[in-house]
Symmetry: C2
Subunit: 109 residues, 2 copies
């Protein structure tokens, strides 16, 4: 498995990079995460979080409180992955206009 292929196995797809990006700011409860990752369905977000948890990238903690408090946080492994994603995020920020123009041209904005 080449490096990028391996990385994409655990972070590929449309939603996982965004979920990790927002968890990069610190632990979040499900509702807060759902509001951050605009457009994701409950079914998709739950499935992606389960996979990220199974791959030891995200840790789900049930704080055993009443009312119940459950949150999701990056593991150290997850934090190293977010670090590797940051340059892509900065590239996107630096090129947002060029990307928006390209997407407009292809009607994919």
């Amino acid at each position: 498995m080449c490096g990028l292929d391996a990385a994409l196995r655990v972070v590929g797809g449309k939603w996982k990079p965004l979920i990790l990006f927002f968890l990069g700011d610190g632990p979040k409860r499900y509702g807060a995460l759902k509001r951050c990752v605009r457009g994701v369905s409950d079914k998709m977000l739950i499935q992606q979080l389960k996979e990220l948890e199974a791959h030891h990238i995200v840790l789900r903690t049930d704080h055993q409180e009443i009312p119940p408090r459950v949150d999701y946080a990056l593991t150290p492994f997850g934090e190293s992955l977010v670090g590797a994603l940051r340059p892509l995020c900065m590239w996107g920020e630096a090129n947002t206009e060029t990307i928006a123009e390209a997407l407009d041209e292809t009607g994919k904005a």
Copy 2:
């Protein structure tokens, strides 16, 4: 559009990062690229290349020769994107075993 969201609009999905990664070594003809990106179908590779071309990330050049010679190369914009993907590639390389174990556990190897 946040930076990562913007970047994922043009490089999201399973195949584009791999296509860009292999074009990072230099221009390639279609057949060579198909052999590099294992498992991709002709239909998918053609579609992804068309999108990458429309987004000014890849340049398709028909060298107007007999027999025909057509190749695909990164534009400067594409090269800057591949640069931003490299850390993710290095992260994957550094963590290939951990990833393989995690994928084994979830039967997704």
